[in-house]
């Protein structure tokens, strides 16, 4: 009997060595590539948001056979990254733009009607299903963000050659708008239209509002791709000029204490400025800002910046595309701007950044594009756990 007991005890001890999957760990850390078996489709993520059920909504563009503009695609995945549903939005609605904006238990984004180029506001639920679409008016939306219970919209008015900043309510009504001339002539408009047709450089359009109440946009103004601070009135402009369409600000994130984390590009080169003081009034030049140069990044690299917390340290997370075809993550101390560490995602096939967010479990989610088998552009989702982030520094 004793021997049987010993044997049973040994078996129990061995059982304790079991290594079963932990669903929580599976949610915290995963990589997914969302694949279609269609040879000629392509998807490019624009923004990602975590939904209350722990899953993710990804707004993306998709290739259309019958249009020069990219179509609209919405992907819903669960908290494990498993596919839930997709919405191939009617091909009449093209050129979706970020951000995907959460408001009142819905998510909103702007896109454009293909025929008349009119801006549309699309409301979707947490499963990615379209609730309603509203015609906003105006043309060529380029960027949007939340402004209280309304939206800030940056768009290009091709009829008047103007960059327009609008405040739009959730019903799609424009409450206020200010226009800024991009300059006269076809030469200045050409790179803007090429951006929309995806036949030219993709410009890092952005719009937002500082904690001090100043609006800003990153777009074309006075013949130059510039970061412009404005009160949406007639005066008080602050302009950080780029180099026509060859230089400018790549991304702007406000930090506490009237400073900014930003990145800039200049004739292909890229610079990170984890703590920058920008002139929000008057005219200055982005080339005077200096910054850390990153030769490993692709020319005029897209950059996203996120304020986050890793290992109880407030940090600034930069993500961008490397020449090696990886997504580079660069972490800087928020207080000092000191570089803390880096991490690279992807191998074998090329990877490109789409969007980055903090997640409810103190991790990060990064949506990007990867080229499956080196040729098919597909959406990829990296979920990085708090623990894995802790290995960066």
């Amino acid at each position: 009997m004793k021997r049987i007991l010993y044997f049973a005890t040994c078996l129990l001890l061995l059982s304790a060595c079991s290594n079963d999957s932990d669903p929580e760990a599976d949610k915290a850390n995963f990589v997914r590539i969302y694949d279609s078996d269609r040879y000629n489709t392509s998807y490019t993520p624009i923004d990602i948001k975590q939904t209350p059920d722990g899953g993710y909504l990804i707004l993306a563009s998709r290739r259309l056979d019958e249009s020069n503009f990219p179509g609209t695609y919405i992907l819903k995945v669960d908290d494990l990254g498993a596919f839930v549903s997709e919405q191939l939005v009617d091909e009449a609605y093209v050129n979706p733009i970020g951000q995907l904006i959460p408001l009142n238990e819905s998510y909103f984004f702007f896109c454009m009607e293909e025929v008349n180029l009119q801006t549309q506001l699309v409301e979707i639920n947490t499963d990615g299903e379209i609730i309603q679409m509203s015609n906003v008016g105006g043309t060529y939306p380029t960027a949007a963000t939340l402004d209280g219970n309304n939206f800030l919209l940056l768009s290009y008015d091709n009829g008047n050659l103007q960059t327009v900043v609008s405040i739009v309510n959730p019903e799609g009504n424009t409450l206020q708008a200010s226009a800024f001339s991009v300059g006269a002539g076809d030469a200045v408009e050409e790179p803007i239209i090429n951006h929309f047709l995806r036949t030219g450089r993709q410009f890092p359009f952005q719009v937002g509002k500082t904690s001090g109440g100043r609006y800003f946009f990153n777009g074309f103004y006075n013949y130059t791709f510039s970061l412009v601070f404005t009160d949406l009135g007639s005066g008080g402009l602050g302009v950080v000029q780029g180099q026509q369409d060859d230089g400018g600000i790549t991304y702007l994130a406000e930090l506490p204490g009237n400073s900014f984390a930003t990145a800039r590009f200049n004739f292909g080169d890229n610079y990170f400025l984890p703590r920058a003081t920008l002139g929000t009034t008057g005219i200055s030049s982005s080339t005077d800002l200096g910054g850390f140069t990153l030769p490993e990044l692709v020319d005029n690299a897209p950059v996203k910046i996120l304020v986050s917390t890793i290992k109880d340290t407030d940090v600034i997370v930069y993500v961008s595309n490397t020449k090696a075809g990886q997504i580079g993550i660069y972490v800087y101390d928020l207080a000092s701007g000191e570089f803390l560490g880096s991490k690279y995602l992807g191998f074998s096939n090329p990877y490109e950044i789409g969007a980055i967010i903090n997640t409810a479990d103190d991790g990060l989610a990064i949506a990007g594009t990867t080229y499956v088998t080196g040729r098919f552009p597909r959406i990829t989702l990296f979920k990085i756990s708090k623990e894995e982030l802790g290995t960066i520094f």
């Binding site: 059982s15 060595c17 590539i33 078996d37 040879y39 995945v77 074998s348 098919f376």
Partner: protein, 291 residues
């Protein structure tokens, strides 16, 4: 429980065999003398080597490539059972007592197992646009096995068949993985047979530090002179997951080709031959194996 059925069956057969055990021909019960009593107990030590075959069985399946317009099952890995030969070397230490042997057999084992994926991308509107790829994955895993085995000699002749059962714990020593990619591409203007250099990665981090299981088997002892030759066959049923669940997605090279380990258990068919030496003698002239 299903995985334990073979072991229970073998133990049942062993019990029946014990009940049926007959004394060897010409055996006469006699009063045990000191020598006989002494030789009821014997230590054996020796070496065994041989091949093994491995079968991996997935539990929960994982895939990085997540279909949006085709069935998830099409991404499932197809596992090959007992396809690739591995090898092992064993140090056997056995204590025999009245036909029973209590054996500790530390083993260094290389196991190999394979699985494959097939993917197709095509265009229903243009038959010329198609890419078919096959990913063949081979895992080579080194384990240090620590088995505890009970043996029973069915008969006591010079040729002594035995049955055995036990438990083991296997500690991961090293692992690597090779992925061969081949396929056909018709989208480049003609039929292009694709073949690339294999992707070889260190995979130790992808496997858990160890797993446990149960053993059942049988073998033959052949007494030759003062040594014992062994032919041993055992089936080892893995009872715990061999995948390191924390590192499933951490290998960027494998993630890039859409590969993530399933939760899986492995079974091994292990065959060994070897030689055992007795450790206890009454005198230098005594043939311990005659007992």
């Amino acid at each position: 429980m299903k995985r334990l059925l073979p072991v229970i069956l073998i133990l049942l057969i062993a019990t029946i065999a014990v009940g049926q055990r007959k004394p060897p021909p010409g055996f006469k019960k006699k009063v045990r003398d000191q020598q006989s009593s002494f030789l009821d107990k014997q230590w054996w030590i020796g070496l065994k080597i041989g091949p093994n075959l491995t079968k991996a069985t997935p539990d929960t399946r994982y895939s990085i490539l997540t279909p949006t317009n085709y069935a998830q099952a099409l991404t499932d890995k197809a596992y090959d059972g007992f396809k690739k030969l591995g090898s092992q070397a064993t140090l056997e230490i056995t204590f025999n007592y009245k036909g029973f042997g209590f054996s500790f057999q530390p083993t260094y084992r290389l196991s190999r197992f394979t699985y494959s994926n097939d993917f197709t991308w095509d265009n229903p509107e243009n038959a010329g646009e198609m890419l078919q790829l096959k990913y063949e994955h081979e895992q080579k895993v080194d384990y240090a096995d620590l088995p505890l085995i009970v043996k029973y000699d069915i008969t006591g002749n010079t040729l002594r068949p035995y049955i055995q059962a036990g438990v083991f714990y296997s500690m991961l020593v090293n692992a690597n993985k090779t992925v061969d990619i081949s396929g056909t591409d018709t989208g480049s203007g003609g039929t292009n047979e694709l073949s690339s250099e294999p992707v070889i990665v260190g995979a130790k981090d992808l496997f858990y530090k160890g797993y446990w299981g149960v053993i059942a088997g049988a073998g033959l002892h052949y007494n030759m002179g003062n040594v014992r030759l062994v032919l041993d066959a055992s089936y080892r049923i893995g009872m715990s997951n061999i995948t390191n669940t924390e590192n499933r997605f951490t290998n960027d090279r494998l993630a890039g080709i859409g590969d993530a380990f399933d939760d899986m258990k492995i079974d091994n068919l292990v065959i060994s031959v070897g030689c055992l030496f007795p450790m206890r003698f009454l005198s230098t002239s005594f043939k311990s194996i005659d007992r």
